[in-house]
């Protein structure tokens, strides 16, 4: 009898699936996170809204920023063959914000970043409307990425992804397996934005006097048009791109047309041509990037308007430390060739930049450190930002930025030294 009981217990025990020793330290409890916390998985929309508030303090002049912004975005098919994309931002500046004129409660500004229609066929696509076009492989330094102008109006307050300006562009693309050919036509090039609004104010700030006459010879539509051709090719771990472009300089050059009775200046936007090549290659955990651009007929402000040719070179790398942290290093140098009758007025410009980032707590907390230095102007930018995700759609960011301008030698970059600390909070839905 006892033997029977023993056998029964043994059989019963074996059928109970008793956890083996290796299960120690593990939970045997089942749990479905998707059913916890009221997770809605059925929500499906093409809209994306961002409501953000930022409050910032600057060391210089005690100015602050106080901004509420709403950014609606939508993209998707309209009908069967047309894709529509909208990205706009409405910003309201508070009474104490440095942009709000004295005596006013607030001021507002609307900006459209992209608004375009697109359609595509078997191997081609056409896209027309307001859009930001990025060229090249570099993320920080600009060698061939000169099509979309920059918004430097508030370098200490503007996130890099917000610093590119959209333009009215018609794009035609042709796709062939591993390659693609793109042609962009821009009917009116935008200009780079600086802290001082308007060319007259910029020149006045530079000359220290308002006793001059400025003729803005900004060409109108089509005369200020641009054409860019780019061929991209991706094969294995190598990507290449070739660019041919006829561009309008985003920064004006100034010509003196008369000295008396008061200086008379004329702002011109020279046209130049660019041939560029870029390559990126992945080797182990490093992405190497090289870009070279030959620009003919540019008139940079730091050459006092002298027309030069320039060979711009850039090298960079992105290092991934086993998904633990990432480092990006980029450097560029712009070798100027002056006309034989003109002596070089400045040293060749250059730029170096580094960006380090690391995520903590499963991407809940992100830390980004950034440093860059460029010549002319001995502009040094350093920043540190901490981003914390309170929830999936609720993000808080604390960023401290310092822009140091060593010398103001030319109109561009007409930047200002500034130290800013910004607390941003964003809610997405």
């Amino acid at each position: 009898m006892l033997r029977r009981i023993a056998i029964f217990l043994l059989l019963a025990a074996s059928s109970l699936n008793v956890p083996a020793a290796e299960s120690e330290g593990f939970d045997s409890l089942d749990f479905d996170v998707t059913t916890a916390g009221g997770v809605d998985t059925t929500h499906d929309t093409r809209w994306r809204h961002t409501l953000s508030y930022e409050h910032g303090w600057a060391e210089e002049g005690g100015s602050i920023v106080q901004r509420l912004a709403w950014r609606p975005q939508w993209d998707g098919l309209v009908g069967d063959r047309v894709f529509f994309s909208l990205d706009a931002r409405l910003r309201v500046y508070g009474s104490q914000d440095r942009f709000t004129p004295a005596g006013r409660d607030h001021t507002g500004r609307m900006r459209i970043r992209s608004l375009f229609l697109q359609s595509s066929g078997e191997q081609w696509a056409v896209q027309g409307g307001y859009q930001v076009i990025n060229l090249g492989f570099m993320d920080i330094v600009a060698v061939s990425d000169v099509f979309a102008p920059w918004d430097f109006s508030e370098p200490a307050w503007t996130a890099p992804e917000d610093a590119r300006l959209g333009q009215p562009v018609l794009a035609v693309s042709h796709f062939t397996g591993a390659g693609s050919l793109h042609a962009w036509v821009n009917v009116r090039a935008e200009v780079t934005r600086y802290p001082v609004d308007g060319l007259g104010e910029q020149v006045a700030a530079l000359l220290g006097t308002t006793n001059f006459v400025l003729d803005d010879a900004a060409p109108d539509y089509f005369a200020r048009g641009e054409v860019v051709l780019r061929y991209q090719h991706s094969q294995g771990d190598i990507e290449q791109e070739y660019i041919l472009a006829s561009l309008v300089q985003n920064d004006p050059a100034f010509e003196t047309t008369a000295l008396l009775p008061v200086p008379r200046l004329r702002a011109v936007y020279p046209r130049y041509t660019m041939a560029a090549w870029g390559l990126s290659r992945v080797r182990d955990n490093v992405l190497w990037k090289v870009e070279a651009a030959w620009k003919q007929g540019i008139r940079p402000a730091d050459t006092n308007g002298v027309e030069v040719d320039s060979l711009d070179l850039g090298v960079g790398m992105e290092y991934n430390a086993a998904e633990d942290w990432r480092l990006t290093l980029e450097a560029s140098r712009y070798f100027r060739r002056y006309p034989s009758t003109v002596a070089a007025t400045t040293d060749d410009p250059w730029q170096v930049a580094a960006r380090w980032s690391r995520d903590f707590l499963n991407q809940t907390l992100s830390v980004v450190a950034f440093a860059a230095r460029s010549q002319p102007g001995r502009v040094t930018t350093t920043s540190l930002s901490l981003t914390y995700r309170l929830q999936d759609d609720w993000i808080v960011e604390l960023a401290a930025t310092h822009v140091d301008v060593g010398e103001t030698t030319a109109l561009a970059p007409l930047l200002e030294t500034a130290s800013a600390t910004v607390l941003r909070t964003r809610y997405h839905w």
Partner: protein, 383 residues
């Protein structure tokens, strides 16, 4: 079970063909590599995989079915690799199979002491279709145990992803996929294009479309000879957890056979080889393998110091188009006390996927991408 060339290169095979009635037809042949013909993975549309043809007395080839050939619903064709067995094919049964079409179905239990490496190879090679369109949810939270139950102590972090992937390469082991983030709103519209390679020395190619910058950016993954510490979208699913393993990288031991979650399983321990150990976050894994479906049902993972770190469980297993699909995957990190549930909300197996959808074009050409995805979504609704 995935039918691949790799399996057929193994030295000794026999094939069994099982009809839905439960009747088993053992195929016998004196010819070597008779299953080579099974390599045709085309035409694995629902209900139709391969036709077995008879030539002379012997089973000589298994080919893709032709239009109009009669399909045997629920019939199952499978083969099992057992080292050391001399294979003998019964010519009599073969005549019954000529011209028939079979569904892919579970393999038969191993009759003799099974080779754990061969089992794991079958798990890796298990048929998951040549292409898939999925909509998945990944939810993660920190948790605590209270009253014998697990409770989230924070609002779960949720990602909803829409993805298309397709197998490539000579053995169908390379994969190209495109994934679009649908939720959360903060990341909506971000797209990933990824090429994964079976070659262990070849890095994953990955590109990301940054909608805020309007730019496609190439990403670099970690070096192949060091452990990847990153996780999938901040969840507890590590990049290593979703890599396609290579059996030559591990030493396997069959610990026992037991039932897990009502299913008969093999319990197999795997330890990385010294070469693999350098780039693995784990020193040891114990896996419960469903003996009939060749699915992993549970994995216990130990960190490099030998301490328990993660328990991965697969549940809500269902069969679609003759292929077993894991409906829910749970990853419980017992060290960080975080748990992730990944759910397959919906899936279309073997949809028609245009190869160009899995190129860089898909990240930037909105019309092109959305029209093709709309066709896949429509198929989801009709099924």
């Amino acid at each position: 079970m995935k039918i691949s060339r790799n399996m057929f290169q193994l030295p000794l095979q026999f094939a069994e063909i099982k009809l839905s009635s439960g009747r088993r037809l053992r195929t016998v042949s004196r010819r070597d590599n008779v299953q080579d013909a099974l390599v045709s993975r085309e035409g694995r549309t629902p209900g139709a995989t391969a036709a077995v043809e008879r030539t002379g007395t012997y089973l000589s080839r298994v080919r893709k079915c032709r239009p109009g050939e009669r399909q045997v619903e629920g019939a199952a064709l499978y083969s099992q690799v057992i080292g050391g067995l001399e294979h003998v094919f019964n010519p009599f049964t073969l005549s019954l199979l000529a011209g028939l079409v079979f569904l892919v179905a579970p393999p038969a239990p191993v009759a003799a002491a099974p080779d754990p490496r061969a089992i794991m190879q079958q798990v890796i090679d298990r048929d998951d279709g040549e292409a898939r369109y999925t909509r998945s949810v990944i939810a993660t939270c920190r948790y605590r145990k209270q009253g014998g139950k697990i409770k989230c102590v924070e609002r779960p972090r949720v990602k909803i992803l829409e993805g298309v992937e397709k197998d490539y390469g000579p053995r169908g082991r390379d994969t190209r996929s495109v994934t679009i983030v649908l939720e959360p709103a903060a990341e909506r519209g971000i797209g990933f294009l990824q090429y994964d390679y079976d070659d262990p020395d070849r890095e994953t190619d990955q590109w990301m479309y940054l909608s805020a910058l309007g730019k496609v950016k190439r990403l670099v993954s970690g070096k192949t000879d060091e452990p990847k510490r990153g996780t999938l979208f901040g969840s507890e699913i590590g990049y290593e957890d979703i890599e396609r393993p290579h059996t030559e990288d591990y030493v396997y031991t069959l610990l026992r056979e037991e039932e897990w979650d009502g299913r008969p399983t093999w319990v197999i321990e795997s330890r990385p080889t010294p070469k693999r150990a350098r780039r693995s976050n784990y020193s040891r894994a114990i896996q419960w393998i469903d003996r009939e479906r060749m699915l992993t049902l549970r994995v216990l993972l130990y960190d490099r110091g030998g301490k328990p770190v993660k328990q991965i469980t697969m549940s809500n297993v269902f069969r679609q188009d003759g292929i077993w699909v894991v409906g829910r995957l749970n990853v419980n990190n017992v060290q960080t006390r975080r748990i992730t549930t990944m759910k397959t909300e919906s899936i279309v197996i073997n949809p028609e996927v245009d190869d160009e959808l899995l190129t860089l074009r898909t990240l930037t050409d909105g019309t092109f991408r959305e029209r093709r995805l709309a066709a896949l979504r429509a198929r989801l609704r009709t099924e």
